[in-house]
């Protein structure tokens, strides 16, 4: 069984408009090259799921008008400040927001991974988040533990998980090391698309040390090689974020026009307006 190896645009074309796409946070494995391809294609009405938060890729997709819904525990560009296009979209009311909390997102994905309809989660009771969610309910411990109310979180099944891995092999396996949230995301989703920095020459599953951090091909719909594919975000263990570039983004994305210039310059391959 051999893997489906796409180029980046073909990979992005496997994400139809309107689907639920799970994305990792900036400190995990972000398929930024594929995000740019999605924007170039003019993807629409995506439902983003930040696992458990989403950063730069979410802000760009929102700014480019690709997003209808954001389901996440946070949209954050960390120390760079508030996510500018997200903040503007919330103010304008142009994206639907489904606010969650990290462990509930993990639990919902783990429920999908296990093929069960829901999973209990501690905490949350008394948070205003609960009132907003029809996919969270308050139940209790059926074994009569004295734990009082317990939130039950409905399974979250992404149509697509989109991630970037440091390595993948010709058999279609992708290495993610300890960034195991991407394993759960791949297990939970109907299909998973992976971009990767480098081709691993061999079978990741045949090496006991590599296998422990490898998502098996079984879960992957297609892969695309993308050297430096997480840029300008960093990739764990491989390269740091491009600090200058992210600061430039923050500067330019303050306004609609600035953000369009950013897209022209760095995504749409048009001459920058600067």
């Amino acid at each position: 069984m051999s893997a489906t190896l796409d180029d980046i645009d073909a990979l992005a074309s496997r994400i139809p408009d309107g689907v639920k796409v799970a994305l990792p946070p900036d400190y995990s494995g972000c398929a930024m090259a594929a995000v740019r391809a999605l924007i170039k294609r003019g993807a629409r009405d995506l439902h983003l799921i930040g696992v458990p938060s989403v950063g730069f890729q979410g802000d760009m997709l929102i700014g480019a008008g690709c997003v209808a819904t954001v389901e996440t525990a946070a949209v954050t560009i960390g120390e760079y400040g508030a996510a500018p296009r997200f903040t503007a979209a919330i103010k304008a009311g142009t994206v639907r927001m489904i606010d969650g909390t990290c462990p509930a997102i993990h639990a919902g994905l783990q429920a999908a991974e296990k093929g069960i309809p829901f999973m209990p989660v501690r905490g949350i009771v008394g948070s205003d988040l609960l009132e907003q969610r029809d996919d969270w309910m308050v139940g209790s411990d059926p074994f009569g533990g004295e734990d009082g109310p317990l939130v039950l979180v409905k399974a979250i099944t992404p149509d697509v998980t989109l991630i970037h891995a440091p390595l993948a092999d010709r058999h279609g396996n992708a290495w993610i090391g300890v960034r195991r949230e991407m394993m759960v995301m791949a297990h939970a989703a109907k299909t998973t698309l992976v971009t990767f920095d480098k081709l691993y020459d061999g079978d990741l599953l045949a090496d006991a040390e590599m296998a422990a951090g490898t998502i098996p091909a079984l879960y992957l719909g297609a892969l695309a090689e993308a050297a430096n594919g997480a840029w300008p975000v960093g990739l764990f263990g491989a390269y740091p974020a491009d600090d200058d570039h992210l600061r430039r983004y923050m500067e330019m994305a303050r306004t609609d026009e600035g953000f369009q210039s950013y897209l022209d310059a760095y995504v749409l391959d048009r001459k920058a307006a600067e």
Binding site: A73, A74, K91, G93, Q132, R180, E181
Partner: protein, 252 residues
């Protein structure tokens, strides 16, 4: 927090020292993203406790022993394997409710914060949650938060081994009284005054008869902060370390 020209330490150093005092004797402290001062405090507490404090710092490669992905911190917390954690808040009110979502009517808030992260969970499960927010203004410390990301207290039937322990700001330290469900002013940082704290705090709080000054870092503590802690925190927060410790000779 404006530096006190009389002091021989920086405001950040006072905060690191103050928070570290709250961590002595604990077994495992976890620190979320974008938290250089809590991170420094945890590293200081570890250094002072002969290394017998486990520090799990999000974003760090040296100080992060998790191997099960994003869920492990939360699973650990629910099992009681984490003794202290830090939360902030775009708004914090007098009942220790925190708002990480936004100001105004949800969902189309006038001001949008990043989101609740794990607060709606960790605030319930970690025994000693330290609220940390340098900005101490009526804008942040409000009578009632616009959105409760995580409540400060719960009904008795809610499973809640954890909750707020203290609120540390750039002006003072509040302790949280779980029975009264209110903050009590605990100490005021050098160079600040009770009247100022009262004025800049949007919520009502308890005021003991005497309120002392937040203790200045002892010389050994300052040495540890400027030495080992500064080195260790630089791995995760290079910009912070450069800004605060890069020329700490000037501060002395």
């Amino acid at each position: 927090m404006t530096p006190d020209p009389q002091a021989d330490f920086l405001p950040e150093e006072l905060l690191i020292s103050t928070v570290a005092d709250m961590l002595d004797g604990l077994g495992h402290v976890a620190i979320g993203a974008s938290s250089p001062i809590p991170g420094g405090a945890a590293l200081l507490a570890r250094a002072r406790n002969g290394g017998n404090l486990r520090v799990s710092m999000l974003g760090s490669e040296d100080h992060n022993a998790f191997t099960n992905g994003g869920t492990e911190l939360f699973d650990c917390a629910a099992q009681g394997r984490i003794d202290a954690f830090f939360l902030g808040g775009g708004q914090i009110d007098g009942a220790a409710n925190i708002n990480l979502v936004g100001i105004g009517d949800y969902p189309q808030t006038k001001v949008r914060f990043p989101g609740s992260f794990g607060s709606a969970y960790l605030y319930f499960l970690v025994p000693r949650v330290i609220l940390f927010r340098e900005e101490h203004t009526p804008r942040v410390l409000v009578p009632k938060v616009d959105f409760i990301s995580a409540p400060g207290t719960s009904e008795p039937d809610v499973y809640r081994p954890g909750g707020p322990y203290a609120l540390v700001t750039g002006r003072c330290v509040f302790a949280f009284d779980k029975d009264r469900k209110r903050f009590r002013l605990s100490s005021i940082h050098p160079g600040h005054a009770i009247e100022e704290v009262r004025e800049m705090t949007g919520f009502d709080f308890d005021l003991p008869d005497t309120v002392g000054e937040t203790p200045a870092p002892a010389p050994e503590t300052l040495a540890l902060i400027r030495g080992r802690v500064a080195d260790e925190i630089a791995e995760t927060y290079p910009a912070f370390a450069a800004r605060v410790f890069g020329d700490n000779a000037d501060a002395a």
